[in-house]
């Protein structure tokens, strides 16, 4: 093995090396979430704006763009999870016996349940992908515009009509944002960009981004399910689903 391979293995095996991987992949994932919530806001700009955006995402770089994007995300996501599970196992092993009378001084509740909020978010992400990306529900998969494009806007509105789905999104997004309230500030510490002077500002930034994402992401299921957003338009869909099915035949 050459020196570079050795160094990479040693980096992975070290505590700080794995933490740096968690932080760097965390930056990628937070960046994705900010872009995701930004795109989601187009729901409120109307059916055409949302569907144009979805069409663009699926066709830029002749359709290769989205796969490059997905590839990077999957790698970041998997590395983030594998590294944190390995770190958690080591941490449990390092504190074999705990205090009979335990006290916590400053650690937040969110920071202490990172592995559990993270694993719940993993379950939520799997559900979310099957729900809106793979579209296992034929009703959601078959929704088309008159031009034949997939009606993403309509799919979201219809997708959030089931109370249990909305509840799961509420829990999933809330835990994601709890995860981020500790995670974002931790990125700065792990990458070595935090100091006593900047810690207050960094903590506020982490909290502000988490709350903004929480509001942004949850505004859509709540608008569609509770406030009845989009229900008028859904009563007169652009194209009847049955027509599209017939055209295909």
């Amino acid at each position: 093995m050459n020196a570079l391979t050795n160094a990479i293995i040693r980096f992975w095996q070290s505590s700080i090396g794995k933490k740096l991987i968690v932080a760097i992949t965390g930056v990628v994932l937070v960046g994705f979430l900010i872009a995701h919530v930004g795109g989601n806001m187009l729901i409120f700009a109307g059916r055409e704006a949302m569907n144009d955006y979805a069409y663009f995402l699926h066709h830029f770089l002749h359709g290769a763009g989205i796969w490059i994007f997905r590839g990077v995300l999957v790698v970041a996501f998997v590395m983030h999870i594998v590294a944190t599970i390995a770190l958690t196992k080591q941490n449990r092993a390092a504190k074999v016996e705990n205090y009979q009378n335990e006290a916590t001084n400053v650690a937040s509740k969110s920071s202490r349940v990172m592995i559990w909020s993270g694993l719940t978010v993993l379950a939520f992400v799997v559900f979310h992908i099957f729900h809106f990306t793979v579209r296992v529900d034929p009703e959601l998969a078959g929704m088309k515009e008159s031009s034949g494009r997939h009606d993403v806007w309509g799919m979201v509105i219809v997708g959030f009509q089931k109370p249990l789905v909305v509840l799961f999104y509420f829990v999933g997004i809330s835990l994601l944002c709890s995860h981020l309230s500790h995670g974002i500030a931790s990125i700065f510490q792990t990458l070595g960009w935090r100091s006593r002077k900047s810690s207050e500002a960094i903590n506020r930034l982490g909290l502000a981004v988490s709350v903004a994402l929480w509001l942004g992401f949850l505004s859509i299921p709540l608008a569609a399910s509770v406030a009845g957003f989009g229900s008028d338009e859904m009563e007169t869909p652009v194209t009847d689903i049955a027509d599209v099915t017939e055209e295909k035949r």
Partner: protein, 250 residues
């Protein structure tokens, strides 16, 4: 004052250990915490029992020998002091006080409240030094050091190596200690030539000793009797990233 003590008793390293209850009666408010334990021990000895074993040395907060986790907090909830500087006037008559050893796999219990902290010595042996002889104190202006660096280095050098950071950490991480010991030398011109080597060696020794990983809870910073800032952890993370990259492409 009269107190109830819940004390961890463990006969030897391989004993399972248990919490035992002691009544500490007629304790003067002006006694230090360790003096209170001395009084209790005298009573135990008079009854023919085995005294509670605990570490102590200077009893003035500078040697780093005393430990004890008091009511779940290493060195007690009082800020910026060691166990030996805690006084009984901080407790109320009738209080129940839990006294446990510093916990962490890398700090095995030797007996009762005494833990083996020699893992820290091995980390320092791995890189917490400057190889060349620096000689006796030279003229103050012969080696210019910025005020900021001098202050930060001095703050890090205040670490007495007591291990409260490990004891307070939910993961028994030694990052505050290692960060302080590395920053203390890395910030000074004399420490520069061996900076990368030092960081890599100390972190590797820290991992080999079985300490956990930092999850940025900052419990260590909250209990440190010398109030070492978690800035040293951020600095260690950054220095480790740089040193690893340099090593990979050397």
């Amino acid at each position: 004052m009269n107190l109830t003590l819940k004390v961890w008793r463990q006969k030897h390293a391989n004993d399972t250990g248990t919490i035992e209850t002691y009544e500490a009666n007629s304790i003067p408010a002006e006694a230090s915490f360790l003096e209170m334990l001395d009084i209790v021990n005298e009573q135990i000895v008079q009854r023919g029992g085995e005294p509670i074993h605990f570490d102590h040395d200077c009893r003035e907060g500078i040697c780093g020998m005393c430990s004890l986790t008091i009511n779940g907090v290493p060195h007690s909830k009082e800020k910026g002091i060691t166990t030996c500087q805690v006084h009984m006037r901080k407790f109320k008559d009738g209080d129940t006080i839990w006294i446990e050893p510093f916990r962490g796999k890398a700090f095995p219990v030797v007996r009762d409240l005494v833990v083996d902290r020699s893992a820290f010595d091995r980390i320092v042996s791995a890189g917490g030094y400057i190889s060349v002889r620096t000689g006796s104190a030279q003229d103050a202006n012969s080696l210019p050091i910025s005020k900021d660096s001098a202050d930060s280095s001095f703050d890090a050098a205040a670490c007495i190596g007591c291990g409260a950071c490990v004891a307070a950490c939910k993961n028994a991480s030694a990052m505050l200690f290692v960060g302080a010991k590395a920053a203390h030398l890395n910030l000074l011109p004399q420490g520069q030539p061996e900076k990368d080597k030092r960081v890599l060696a100390m972190v590797r020794q820290m991992d080999a000793e079985g300490f956990g990983n930092c999850t940025n809870h900052y419990e260590c910073e909250a209990v440190c009797p010398k109030e070492i800032s978690a800035d040293v952890i951020a600095r260690l993370n950054r220095d480790y990233a740089v040193a690893s990259t340099k090593e990979a492409f050397k």
